[in-house]
């Protein structure tokens, strides 16, 4: 059923793309757009660190699977079309990424017959001002057209926070009737200020005379380490000994889905970028 739905949607898109009444003529035109959406963070762990150390076991954190850490982003985007198909995009935005992991520890007192278990769910959020610079290729010239885009982005950290949810049952779930929370603390100094990465994605644009609407999905691949190694053990929040926690080193990627609306600048409305297809069959 799911596949049937996908096939139907793709067929409709295909029909729409091929059988359009208007073509787009926006060479040399500029647009200013507003975009926003949600993202899913993908941490890539490069080095592991722990406070607890033992000869028998490695206390490695277990990271949440893809799709569990959601964030949001929004921003402004300027685009300039060199041709109808090729445009360059520069944006400035604000995004929230994150990563989650859980740790658990247990101690058993065989003499006094006492047990103690602690499961901790660690939630980190990092907000960045982001500046993507991309090239975009609109695959057809129609009013409704798919596109691919790619480029680089720079992230400038704004803030970062951490909170731990903990309970006394080791089951990889937050046990509601035992759940307690650490204070939410800033980990801004424990994260690095700048990141650089590659971004690329696909989407669909719908052009009108007055605005262009878009829906796109991008993958962002961060190059640099996210965690500040130098402050890992400064323990400014007291979490190292209280929750036996320090951050691993990792790089962050993300997959986002976002919608956009762009309005044409420099007389594009008057110059009418939408023209009847029958007069412009060939590109």
């Amino acid at each position: 059923m799911k596949y049937l739905l996908v096939v139907l949607v793709l067929s409709l898109v295909s029909l729409k793309v091929q059988g359009q009444n208007y073509t787009v003529h926006n060479t040399g035109k500029s647009y200013l757009g507003l975009l926003g959406g949600m993202n899913f963070s993908i941490p890539r762990i490069t080095d592991r660190y722990s406070v607890l150390t033992s000869a028998e076991e490695k206390f490695e954190k277990e990271y949440d699977k893809f799709g569990k850490t959601k964030g949001a982003q929004f921003g402004l985007q300027y685009s300039y079309n060199f041709t109808t198909a090729i445009a360059v995009l520069i944006g400035v935005g604000y995004e929230t990424l994150g990563f989650k992991y859980f740790t658990n520890y247990s101690w058993v007192d065989t003499l006094e017959k006492q047990e103690f278990a602690r499961e901790m769910h660690h939630i980190q959020k990092i907000s960045y001002f982001t500046v993507p610079i991309q090239a975009k290729w609109e695959i057809t010239r129609g009013q409704f057209t798919p596109f691919v885009q790619g480029g680089v982005y720079m992230d400038f950290r704004h803030q970062a926070t951490k909170i731990i949810h903990y309970d006394n049952t080791i089951d990889q779930e937050e046990t509601e009737n035992q759940l307690s929370y650490s204070p939410q603390v800033s980990i801004k100094e424990d994260t690095r200020k700048f990141n650089l990465g590659l971004t690329g994605g696909v989407g669909m644009s719908y052009h009108t005379k007055y605005a262009t609407f878009g829906l796109e999905s991008n993958f962002r691949y961060g190059f640099f380490d996210v965690v500040n190694d130098e402050t890992r053990y400064t323990d400014r929040n007291g979490f190292a000994l209280l929750y036996l926690d320090v951050l691993d080193q990792l790089k962050l990627s993300s997959l986002n889905v976002q919608a956009s609306v762009s309005i044409p600048l420099n007389n594009a409305v008057r110059s009418n970028i939408m023209r009847k297809t029958k007069y412009y069959k060939k590109r």
């Binding site: 150390t53 101690w107 103690f116 610079i133 209280l242």
Partner: protein
């Protein structure tokens, strides 16, 4: 229009240049060395184990060896790598008990002093890093109840309690640590075995025994039981009694001392639950006086019943006297004083809401400082912990 285009492309170029510049800056960052700074808790999932760390030393591979007591007087060794991660640990057989501070380093090997469970006499144990254990190196049947060992790289001194004659003894060993060269003692005049038993079993008060030798090597200064009190004793080079600062019964005395030379000392003293520091005071090795008469500054926030460590440390080519103590709220407090003065140069707290107890500290080969502490994990389990402070952080402290 042409002019507009030039401005636009310059903006792109600027952004790319910015990206490349920032990227290069990020790449240029110095390589991170995990061994420079760390916090480690040495876990034991056995909940009925209760550890009390005693001493730490750096090993030839730049790692660390820790000597601890567990569940009273049993003995435990932990060996870590340079980054503080545990490599191996070893429980000594039950006949070896009551390890005393400190680990001593001789000819590239580490040794410690402990006691026979039944005979109460003294063993010197040698740590076998390759065998991940410790072996008996020497035993001294005549030295009962060892309480402290001190090595000034010239001689090794062991302090003990003579249970049959109610004396505090001091014994100087030869360089090979296989013979007692000379011994001395002072009279306690009363039986303090109950206090000694509580001390070595961790069932009561841990008395701050210590032994030091003055830089001129003319006096041995030690704290121990003497004449119905816990006193600070001066013994001459022949281990004969020279002078004493008597404590207030067993509720006053010195916690720690560091001889600075020329009769100057950095010390910490206690009187009941109060703790006092004086990082530069004069003591007369031939005096008969009381410890309360030694001028010192009260430290209201510090716990008088926890260990106080005083050592020389060197930061940026300058010598400091460093005190490590435990606050009443169970944080560690490191205080740095200019050597030969009472001026507090810097202080730093470690720990926030988890109980810590100061146990030992030492400067590391890389110019950093490693603190050995007891930590109560999850409000329940006493474990050994190390906190490594990197050189740059120490330098920032004293700047």
């Amino acid at each position: 229009m042409k002019k507009f285009k030039i401005v636009r492309f310059s903006a792109f170029q600027l952004l790319f240049a910015l990206a490349i510049g920032l990227g290069l800056t990020a790449c240029k960052k110095e390589e991170y060395k995990p061994e420079e700074s760390f916090i480690k808790v040495y876990n034991d999932s056995n909940g009925n184990r209760n550890y009390f760390p005693l001493s730490i030393q750096q090993t030839s591979d730049k790692g660390f060896l820790m000597l601890s007591a567990y569940n009273g007087w049993n003995i435990h060794l932990i060996k870590t790598d340079i980054a503080g991660d545990l490599l191996w640990e070893y429980d000594l057989p039950s006949k070896y008990v009551n390890a005393v501070p400190n680990l001593i380093q001789r000819n590239g090997s580490l040794y410690f002093v402990c006691m026979d469970e039944v005979g109460l006499f003294t063993y010197i144990m040698k740590v076998d890093e390759n065998g991940k254990s410790a072996q008996e190196f020497q035993q001294f049947q005549q030295i009962k109840y060892p309480l402290y060992v001190f090595d000034n790289q010239n001689a090794v001194y062991i302090q003990n309690y003579e249970r049959s004659s109610y004396k505090t003894g001091i014994h100087e060993l030869n360089d090979a640590m296989d013979q007692v060269l000379q011994s001395g003692s002072v009279d306690i005049n009363t039986d303090v075995e109950d206090k000694i038993v509580d001390h070595i079993n961790y069932t009561g008060r841990r008395f701050p025994f210590f032994v030091h030798v003055t830089p001129e090597k003319d006096y041995i200064v030690m704290s121990g039981f003497n004449n119905y009190s816990f006193s600070t004793l001066f013994m001459d080079a022949n281990l004969d009694f020279s002078g004493v600062y008597n404590g207030s019964g067993y509720d006053g005395g010195l916690n720690a001392i560091l001889p600075l030379g020329a009769n100057q000392y950095a010390l910490a003293r206690f009187s009941f639950s109060n703790l006092y520091f004086n990082p530069n005071t004069t003591l007369n090795p031939t005096a008969v006086d009381i410890t309360e008469s030694i001028p010192a500054q009260g430290k209201a926030e510090l716990d008088a019943n926890s260990p106080v460590l005083i050592k020389n440390i060197r930061i940026k080519e300058t010598d400091y006297v460093a005190y490590l103590a435990t606050t009443k709220s169970n944080q560690l407090l490191l205080s740095l004083y200019a050597k030969g003065s009472t001026e507090l140069v810097a202080s730093k707290y470690f720990g926030q809401s988890v109980p810590l107890k100061a146990c030992d500290f030492l400067m590391t080969d890389d110019g950093g400082l490693i603190l050995l502490s007891r930590v109560t994990v999850m409000s329940s389990f006493n474990r050994c912990a190390t906190i490594k402070v990197k050189r740059e952080e120490l330098e920032t402290l004293v700047d």
